[in-house]
Symmetry: C2
Subunit: 391 residues, 2 copies
């Protein structure tokens, strides 16, 4: 059997995003023990970096040893018990996954829907909170990867506090791409993913829990249904008083990668990183619109790091993606759920948010559209993007 090795891609899908060679090389550093004193110092460093990124003083801030879906589950299974009620704001696939998580906790779920591609309506959320005074959790997705919409996280966390709920916030696609402010917003349990705007390989889920969230966990009447994700056990490894004790074996080399990516983020500076995402997004949208394409999401709530583009009538969207992958090694994302076949999702996450990628993407997309007899003016698209990039 001949071994299979990966080609070089340009990752402009919904994640994973492009990974910098420094981070890849960090993954290849020699493995050491998960209880090694040097690894424990690295754990402390990563926690400090993550606190800076999340903008929080929360002691319990660390990466869960599994992808973002496990980070989501960690929040729900620790904060909910059977019979509790949670309100879930659903404006895409990941809000629906939150709903699934509530059900699997044996808790009651109240769903507040928003049309996919639009932002959650604060009045509807407040109505649900008023109508369900026993609800103990309000959960929502800050940056919906399936639709490209940003929810107003500060306002939603404020509503949670007003109605005495803990907030669970999905920051998988937001962290590192747009401002987050865990302490300023008063978010109680948040999770992210390594493979989006942090530009790491997938596999880790940074999380942070407020003191209010920890008090909820301490006052549980029943054990957490997951042993692997039980924070009362996991925190002895990540946040142990007087030394760490073994819980599970952490993914050591993945942690090397995350620590390096976080260090690179700090070197560039959070504000600069956010500004870069914003600039690249503006350039990409200018190019796409000059090409005659249109964005699904209104500019008022559009995510810079995930650009959802409507597939023009008559275009075979799968053939376009296949052309990009085959001829340019360029990955862009397909639509999910009700948006399947109707949109492309173009990521500008972390290392992928670079001028060179925008040039390749616009040029390749124009070529693929023209191959399908859908006239697209690539020259105009590149000019429009370059005008933005030139400031």
């Amino acid at each position: 059997m001949t071994n299979i090795y990966p080609p070089k891609r340009i990752l402009m899908g919904p994640g994973p995003s492009d990974v910098h060679p420094r981070v890849l090389q960090a993954m290849a550093m020699p493995t050491i023990g998960h209880l090694d004193p040097v690894f424990q110092r690295m754990m402390d460093q990563s926690k400090d970096y993550l606190r800076a990124l999340f903008k929080t003083e929360n002691s319990l801030t660390f990466p869960i040893s599994a992808p973002g879906s496990a980070g989501m589950e960690a929040c729900f299974v620790n904060l909910l018990e059977a019979g509790d009620t949670a309100i879930v704001v659903r404006h895409g696939v990941f809000g629906d996954r939150m709903r699934e998580n509530v059900i699997r906790c044996g808790a009651n779920v109240i769903v507040v829907d928003a049309v996919w591609g639009t932002a959650p309506d604060m009045a509807l959320v407040e109505d649900a909170l008023k109508a369900n005074p026993h609800a103990s959790v309000l959960a929502f997705v800050h940056a919906e990867t399936s639709t490209g919409v940003e929810a107003d996280a500060g306002a939603l966390c404020g509503l949670a506090q007003k109605y005495n709920c803990l907030s669970i916030v999905d920051m998988v696609t937001s962290l590192g791409g747009i401002p987050v402010d865990v302490d300023g917003w008063g978010a109680d349990a948040v999770y992210s993913g390594s493979q989006k705007c942090l530009s790491c390989p997938p596999g880790l889920s940074p999380v942070s829990f407020s003191e209010k969230a920890l008090n909820r966990i301490r006052s549980r009447k029943t054990p957490v249904q997951s042993w692997f994700l039980d924070l009362s056990l996991v925190m002895n490894y990540w946040d142990g008083e007087g030394g760490r004790s073994y819980h599970h074996t952490a993914p050591v080399n993945a942690m090397y990668g995350l620590n390096e990516a976080l260090a690179m983020h700090m070197e560039e500076g959070t504000d600069n990183v956010h500004a870069r995402h914003r600039l690249m997004h503006t350039a990409l949208v200018a190019g796409l619109e000059a090409m005659g394409l249109s964005m699904l999401v209104d500019a008022s709530c559009r995510l810079p790091q995930l650009n959802v583009v409507t597939v023009p009538e008559g275009v075979d969207e799968g053939a376009v993606r296949a052309h990009l992958l085959a001829h340019y090694g360029l990955e862009i994302g397909a639509g999910l759920g009700p948006l399947a076949g109707k949109v492309w999702r173009i990521g500008l996450m972390g290392e992928a948010a670079r001028a060179s990628n925008i040039t390749v993407c616009l040029s390749a997309l124009g070529e693929a559209l023209n191959l399908q007899q859908h006239s697209a003016d690539t020259g105009a698209a590149l000019s429009a993007a370059q005008a933005v990039l030139a400031g």
Copy 2:
């Protein structure tokens, strides 16, 4: 903040074990998408390799995207429902963790204990099966990492079948180090870890499920309590008919490492790998005994890949480990649970099972013991080990 980087260690603890540079370099290959056609071909290759290692034809054989603890949890939460009864054979820490998992499923647990450092008693297990005819699962650890004992997995799986139970078998430390035979034994749900005898970085948990296990899952009355580990969803990604669908984002680079480690295992050949573990173990034990140390576990059920050595009276075991780490970069393991402070655990797993490591370990251990005024004849130890290695 100065970034922290790992030193080069020799990993002879209970895992992670030494990782070959080929595997480390594979971790650093460029990240591609988890739905990329090339990655899907690599997934198929890894599944084929794992089937060969597990000795199974089970279609659902793949690595869970999280460490071995999550693999354990995947087995329990999928095969058990609230109110079910499981019999757990407990001969160390990991058997106790199985018991915890059963409880968190809301199921009843019957524990059959063996003294730590001894093998499970088949008669006691059969008594428990007879006394609990409604039990639906028999669970046990094949290679107890906390004690260095091998359980008779074939006999235990046979008992499970005789009493109409599904078997859940922990192969975390056995896979790749000693023979396993999933189909021959009729094991129904098995899990392992990447960081033991497979010599990968930690973070992945290879699992395999029999048709009987899948039928149990298909006939569940309640949803699996974990969304992340729900096999009815996960299998659409790893084992999808007519194409894979997105479930979670797999840890792509960790998978590169695993695929490379599995390929290296195939190149060496399973029988040769097992023989190497056995030879290195024999040499290490000869050396340890020539030095005046004694093994905790009787030779009849001793694991070659995990050697549990009794700490001599009056020796500060923590100081010995600290000396080895500081002066030789050599990690060996401490005792867990009731064995804490009483034993060392010396791993000879995968790449760590090399003659050079045995030489360093015996020599460094002799030096550390002599520093504590505990006379140890390092020369005799090395001679005894070398006599074994010379065949």
